[in-house]
Symmetry: none
Subunit: 259 residues, 2 copies
């Protein structure tokens, strides 16, 4: 029996129920477990099915085939890092948003945690991060605006060529921004691409609000985005030392400790 025959049989077996068990396939196809798994893997890669433990089913909205899934690898890993702190910070930051306000949100795993708490505020959000867009997508009331430009994969952000005005005539009272590290020099990002993207957002905002969990104060490597003097508010968690807290306040930054 050839691969194409088995593929046909598999899709056929799923029929109208939309599911075949691995056992079922083992009985129908005269092939070894390994081969069956390989067939399923191939069909999934083609987007024709979605594998589940013990079998396979038709792709649905909840579980789109992997070809349609959004996943930045380093990003996904970083999401779970200090998750609890990030969630608390996200909640506290979202509380700063007035109903029906227009805001800007920079991409990042911490700012991402704001999104669930924006539901029902009917605000407008300008962002260049597709991760943020995806997170806001289910919230009916939230209006999402995007700048034009090229998509940068590593960071999943949209960025226009230098000098080009990519924002749809937008100015916002508040910008929410993440950071890879914070030190006395200011806030830093790991990738230089992020820096130029964030500089543009900063220029359009009246108030810059930085979200960073306390671990970000320990490292200080990366490209400098802006000095502490450009920051208006800093939202972080309880893990911050008294010393850093004082230096933040000395820089005339409003400090918010989440949770």
């Amino acid at each position: 029996m050839h691969a194409t025959e088995r593929e046909t049989l598999i899709l056929e077996a799923m029929g109208k129920t939309g599911f075949v068990s691995y056992r079922d396939l083992e009985a129908r196809l005269d092939a070894s477990p390994a081969t069956i798994r390989r067939d399923l893997a191939r069909l999934e890669a083609q987007g024709k099915i979605v594998r589940v433990h013990g079998g396979a089913k038709w792709p649905t909205a909840d579980e789109p085939p992997p070809s349609l899934r959004l996943s930045g690898t380093p990003f996904d890993q970083s999401i779970t890092l200090n998750l609890a702190a990030k969630q608390a910070i996200g909640r506290a930051a979202a509380a700063l948003v007035e109903p029906a306000e227009g805001i800007m949100i920079d991409g990042g795993t911490t700012t991402l945690q704001m999104c669930p708490h924006l539901a029902g505020r009917d605000c407008q959000v300008l962002t260049n991060s597709l991760h943020i867009v995806n997170a806001l997508l289910p919230q009916e009331g939230t209006r999402i605006l995007l700048p034009s430009g090229t998509l940068f994969r590593e960071q999943n952000i949209v960025l226009a060529p230098a000098g080009e005005d990519s924002m749809p005539r937008f100015h916002a009272p508040k910008l929410f921004m993440g950071a890879a590290a914070i030190g006395s020099q200011g806030i830093m990002q790991a990738d230089a691409v992020l820096v130029s993207a964030e500089r543009r957002l900063i220029d359009r905002a009246e108030k810059v609000i930085v979200l960073a969990d306390s671990s970000k104060f320990q490292s200080s490597s990366g490209a400098i985005v802006c000095g502490l003097d450009e920051i208006d508010v800093l939202v972080t968690d309880q893990g911050i030392t008294q010393e850093t807290a004082r230096s933040i306040k000395d820089a005339d930054i409003e400090l918010i400790l989440a949770q």
Copy 2:
């Protein structure tokens, strides 16, 4: 019986009454109490049901039938419709793309199927559809460009206010476009929002290539996007009747039959 099957059965059992008792499930599903509870817990975590003592019910009072929730947006439902035909059409259309060419792809479930076949062509793609963006994301070599604007949820497209130039100075030799229906009046879309989005793309393209499976020729309802005279190439499947094929050719459109 596998987890996926049980989930389907549970949601089915809730049917229109919007409630299943635990007892009922115990009778229907051939599974232990522990497994049933686990299934319910999982479904609740996914937001598909709400557990109550002795059973489960639909999420909220004002709740639309969860069959919607299950299969998501109309877009997701439509993805698997005529999937084989759409995949064949997508492959044939992708073959029209020259290596390193800059093209535009309109949103739609048929154009979506082009994306897997664009891998390795190193082309630039301008699209206003986030579905297309997501599909192209894993392809390292493909450069993705986005226009600025507001996100329209039903269609998942980005659209700028009328009169505003939202495209990053872009002009392309080819536009790939889907359709809800095709008739002698031209091609039609279900939503008027799509029409204005597509009009802008058409104005920037030298050649308009329409992707539509043969079922699209049977209906003819919707907002008219453009007349047949504006179309240069039509890619469809073998299911088209000889009569329609002739009328297409009479309109001076190049006809490509996939697979």
